[in-house]
């Protein structure tokens, strides 16, 4: 591990000030000389592996604003402070009652120990686990732009089939983000440019020709909160995660589903897919296919086909298309059958 400076700014404006002083505005947050840590469960890992090389770490855990650590519920909005730990949010009874999807997506992620360390903002910004990205001796366009992509023709079992490009097929592995994008969440940001709000759906960027640019954040942008709208329908929501083992594994395929039902008829479905796409993935085509329909296995299958119509398989990950479809079908039926 390389030497670095470690600082604990006292409040958000101090964090922004230090970050904007030491970071080149042109840099990506993941490439900047100064970077934030919260739980450090992702960044410290990548520093040890030589993938991330910040010269200065700003530890956000000393920020004094109490709202950063609070979950507030009211007016149809759940507001999660950025530093709330995954475990705490997962265990919040009100959140579980109002919107099980949020709790389940957190509870099924990582391990108890990691959930106790990891923050919600850090969680949504976690970087891919692509094996070739994590080992610096391989060519990787995300790590070293222009060097190529070792995964494309390599061992790509865990890689994405949706949202891929010729430059990168790395999966976005987070679970919570699937709930957030399905529920039309918003992030609150403070940065040099002042405070602003961003649709969660705009936070992450498709790899395209620039897989190294992962988000629309500037290096001095601090996420301070995540807001999630809720209503009566959000009680009928569910996260289904399919993986190689029962716990402590990333999704091979997952589905975040919220159903607004009128009897058995779907007024509105909200769907996101995890483990199969390069970014948090809203499955709008599947939602449309369900609109106004009575939900049964066949209708669910049509929606699943729509969700994966554009999927691009590679050598080892082709199974993610049938698996992703089956996951969505099962999630839809399980959500339909929820007793709320």
């Amino acid at each position: 591990m390389r030497p670095f400076v470690y600082e604990r700014p006292a409040d958000v404006s101090a964090a922004v000030a230090v970050a904007s002083r030491f970071a080149d505005q042109q840099d990506q947050p993941t490439k900047a000389d100064v970077q934030f840590i919260a739980g450090a469960t992702n960044l410290a890992d990548y520093m040890k592996l030589g993938v991330a090389k910040p010269k200065r770490l700003l530890d956000l855990n000393a920020l004094r604003e109490p709202t950063l650590r609070q979950i507030k519920i009211g007016d149809g909005i759940i507001r999660f402070g950025a530093l709330v730990r995954m475990g705490e949010a997962a265990d919040n009874d009100d959140v579980r009652r109002i919107c099980p999807l949020l709790s389940e997506s957190l509870k099924l992620a990582a391990s108890g120990q990691i959930r106790n360390m990891a923050s919600l903002a850090g969680n949504v910004l976690q970087r891919t686990r692509c094996e070739y990205f994590r080992e610096t001796s391989w060519p990787c366009n995300k790590r070293d732009p222009g060097s190529g992509c070792a995964a494309m023709e390599g061992f790509n079992r865990q890689h994405a089939v949706l949202g891929t490009s010729d430059g990168c097929i790395a999966t976005y592995h987070g679970d919570f983000a699937q709930a957030l994008i399905a529920l039309d969440a918003t992030v609150e940001i403070e940065g040099k440019r002042g405070a602003r709000r961003m649709e969660f759906a705009k936070l992450h960027r498709l790899p395209g020709d620039t897989p190294d640019i992962e988000t629309n954040l500037a290096p001095d942008d601090v996420i301070v909160a995540i807001e999630v709208p809720f209503a009566a329908w959000s009680r009928r929501s569910h996260y289904l995660k399919i993986r190689d083992r029962e716990s402590y594994a990333f999704a091979l395929a997952s589905a975040a589903v919220a159903l607004d039902l009128d009897g058995n008829m779907i007024r509105h479905a909200r769907i996101a897919l995890g483990g199969v796409a390069t970014v948090p993935w809203r499955a709008k085509a599947a939602e449309e296919a369900l609109q106004g329909k009575t939900l049964d296995q066949e209708v669910a299958e049509t929606a699943a086909d729509a969700a994966f119509a554009e999927a691009q398989p590679r050598r080892y990950n082709a199974f993610k298309i049938p698996l992703g479809k089956r996951t969505l079908v099962r999630a839809l039926l399980e959500t339909r059958d929820m007793k709320v």
Partner: protein
């Protein structure tokens, strides 16, 4: 008594807790890299990023410039010492810093030494190499591999087992199968990382390293360093998981010793988990073709098992499990053939039940297929083919309780509730499947020495250079001494894991309990003889009881005529404070050089299929229930039942624990574990516990272990059959059969993953 401490049945010892249990769970057990070593400097490895070629230049300047770096050992710096040797004590003949050839991915190219771990690591990451790269062969399907017969390439695999005329028997069989199976690359991934700490005091070298073979390593390290073995001491008090990975010494040990000499202070190198994949041994991938022919009545008439195994270019590591599968059932005719496939890979090595895990997996999966082809219950099919004699040499089994194991496991499992038709059992959205398979492991034993010291106050010290690799051998050795010398176990201390102790064989092949207990027994008996003689001798406290049968119990010598003498009194009359005996145990049939070899760090194994009088194996039967989701097809295992018979069970608690751990590992082998190789570059891709999957707690629900009583006086004086490696032998095949039963899909290539079932 509870589930973890089963009540002993006939020929079983007490379930006493491990004598080091508290130390381990409270973190007080000192593992090699925890041990204080004075003013220690830290070392880190730099490893190759290609699998085949030559190093043209190494750029060390940036690494040297890292503050705190003391020295770098790299290519050319080992010229004064001998290259490693491949064999039982040496992992590979590759001397990574001896020449510039790169034989495999992750080969050591340099060792950085610094004041701190961080500086050493940073420096290692800054080392760059210019390579003349060649196209590597990754595995079976790669261009450029070399295939050759395995027979004769290893002293452990002299010939392919054969009997009768397979071809004509198979041709005329009424029912037959011909199928291919495979097992993946696997790495042991013990939780305790690999490490070496070395330091010199004058010309005395001390090494702390987790080891399954301290005596062997002492001799081999001295050979490489060209020094007197008397000047080398290997210390390995606790080992946090080994499974074979800490059996053979790797090239790193000598490199760290050289580094310590250069910087003139202790040097410690803890290998990262990622680097362990290329610098340690592993289980290489295997392929199998099995043909079985039988009559409609289910009697097998023809069996052929062909195996292919990957090894490195320079070293012929042979798995050779066909010798076990060839002796499993009453086949009539048998044909086996094992081939080595040389690729550009690091040299594989032993991994828990090395030959049996892959080969018996293939056989037992095939047996289930054959039972299906015959329309016969799989247990009945095995019962019909139960041999009276071992099919190859016609020798008797010293004991064989396989059918008893099947009966007891089937009953506990509820096999009778199984509906034979594929896909017929369901629980809501989950397809239910049930499968079973045989476990087998050769029973071997090797020469071993031990020293016993008994003091007047009833304290016993056992010394034996064996290794506590987590099996509980320290505890059972202590139990043996306590029982023979008639003291409580808490009065016994057991010293192991040090090459300065009386030598013991490698802790591999499940020989430790048998070998160590036989040596401890012999030393204890020598102590007893001396005490008995003094007790009944002139002026002794039991003078006059000369014809009585004597024993030791409750810190007394007790005679069957009712008299007894306290140890303390006896010691007084003998005018001594302690009695010490050193015993060398050599199994029946040992060669004249067997003991000499023990001191030279070579273990002469006896038993298995090698003895003249009989073949010696332990057996078990494993039953598995799986659930497969009808939508998403993930496989889960709610229930495992295994029944095992292994001669005398020294301690039902540690025995159960070993078998249960094996079965759980078997689940991993069936469903999770595989090292992935980038086929273009012959490089390992998933080198950490995030991507190298093993079962977690949530994957393991009910596991029941049944210990089936068995008495076998032939195997060794202690009557013990090793069982450390038995538990994981049958599991994967039982899972594969259960998955077939649930889904109708026969998965022949391990691990069974969701992609095999979803499409």
């Amino acid at each position: 008594m509870n589930q973890a401490a089963p009540a002993p049945k006939e020929n079983m010892g007490q379930p006493v807790p491990r004598i080091d249990a508290r130390l381990k769970v409270t973190g007080q057990a000192g593992y090699s890299a925890d041990l204080a070593a004075g003013n220690v400097a830290y070392a880190a490895l730099a490893t190759s990023t290609i699998a085949k070629g030559a190093i043209q230049a190494l750029h060390l300047d940036r690494a040297r410039a890292v503050p705190g770096v003391l020295d770098i050992v790299s290519i050319g710096d080992m010229d004064q010492i001998e290259k490693p040797k491949f064999g039982n004590t040496g992992a590979s003949s590759i001397g990574p810093l001896h020449d510039k050839t790169v034989f495999h991915d992750g080969q050591i190219i340099a060792l950085t030494i610094a004041e701190s771990f961080e500086a050493a690591e940073e420096a290692a990451m800054l080392i760059e190499a210019d390579y003349a790269q060649e196209n590597p062969s990754a595995s079976f399907d790669s261009q450029g591999t070399k295939i050759e017969p395995a027979a004769g390439k290893s002293p452990m695999y002299k010939e392919d087992a054969k009997v009768g005329d397979f071809d004509s028997a198979y041709a005329s069989a009424e029912v037959k199968i011909d199928q291919k199976y495979s097992t993946p690359t696997q790495h042991h991934n013990p939780i305790e990382l690999f490490s070496t700490t070395a330091w010199w005091q004058g010309d005395q070298l001390t090494v702390h390293e987790p080891s399954q073979n301290v005596t062997g390593w002492k001799i081999e390290l001295a050979r490489q360093l060209k020094i007197d073995p008397a000047n080398v001491r290997i210390i390995s008090p606790y080992v946090g998981g080994a499974f074979g990975s800490k059996g053979p010494m790797t090239a790193r040990t000598a490199i760290v010793a050289v580094a310590a000499r250069r910087v003139g202070r202790p040097v410690r190198c803890v290998v990262s988990r990622m680097q362990a994949f290329g610098t340690q041994t592993y289980r290489a991938e295997t392929r199998h073709r099995i043909r079985i022919g039988a009559g409609k009545d289910g009697h097998i008439t023809a069996f052929a098992h062909e195996g292919w195994e990957v090894t490195s270019r320079p070293d012929p590591y042979v798995v050779g499990g066909a010798s076990a599968t060839a002796r499993m059932y009453n086949y009539g005719s048998v044909l086996t053939h094992v081939s080595l496939v040389r690729a550009d890979r690091n040299t594989p090595g032993y991994m828990r039940s090395p030959p049996e895990t892959p080969y018996v997996y293939a056989l037992e999966n095939a047996m289930d297929e054959m039972a299906v082809a015959l329309g016969m219950d799989p247990i009945e099919f095995r019962r019909i083919n139960e041999p009276q004699k071992e099919p190859i040499g016609g020798k008797p089994f010293s004991s064989r309780s396989l059918l008893k194991c099947y009966e007891q496991a089937a009953r506990a499992f509820g096999w009778s509730r199984r509906e034979a038709r594929v896909g017929s059992m369901r629980d809501g959205d989950w397809l239910v499947g049930m499968g079973c398979a045989t476990a087998i492991y050769p029973t071997a034993v090797a020469p071993c020495a031990a020293r016993i010291r008994l003091t007047a106050d009833g304290q016993v010290r056992v010394q034996c250079g064996s290794h506590e690799i987590g099996t509980g051998v320290r505890t059972v050795a202590g139990q043996m001494a306590a029982e023979r010398l008639g003291v409580d176990l808490d009065k016994v201390s057991v010293e192991m894991g040090d090459s300065a102790l009386p030598p013991a064989p490698v802790s591999g092949g499940s020989i430790s309990t048998a070998s160590v207990c036989s040596a401890v027994l012999k030393a204890c008996d020598a102590v007893r003889q001396k005490l008995f003689a003094a007790a009944v001798g002139e002026g002794g406290p039991l003078a006059g009881s000369g014809n009585a049968k004597l024993d030791m119990a409750g810190e007394k010598i007790v005679a069957d005529d009712g008299k007894s003498a306290a140890l303390s009194d006896l010691f007084k009359t003998m005018q001594i404070g302690a009695i010490e005996e050193y015993a060398e145990f050599a199994p029946r049939g040992s060669s004249p050089e067997a003991l000499k070899k023990l001191y030279a760090g070579e273990s002469e194994f006896h038993g298995g299929d090698q003895d003249q009088d009989s073949v010696k194996y332990a057996f078990g039967a494993e039953f598995v229930e799986v659930r497969v989701n009808s939508h998403t097809r993930e496989v889960r295992v709610p229930r495992l039942v295994g029944a095992f018979a292994a001669g005398r069970i020294m301690n039902t608690r540690t025995a159960r624990s070993q078998l249960m751990g094996g079965m759980i590992w078997g689940i991993g082998q069936a469903l999770h574990e595989a090292t992935e190789i980038d086929q273009r570059h012959a490089r390992y891709v998933n080198r950490d516990l995030q991507d190298y999957l093993v079962p977690v707690n949530a994957d393991i629900k009910e596991v029941e272990v049944i210990l089936v009583p068995e008495i076998d006086h032939e195997v060794n004086p202690a009557g013990v059959k090793g069982l450390g490696e038995l538990g994981n032998v049958g599991t994967a095949a039982a899972v594969a059969s259960a998955v077939y039963h649930a889904t109708g899909k026969r998965i022949r290539d391990l691990p069974i993953r969701i992609e095999d079932l979803v499409t």
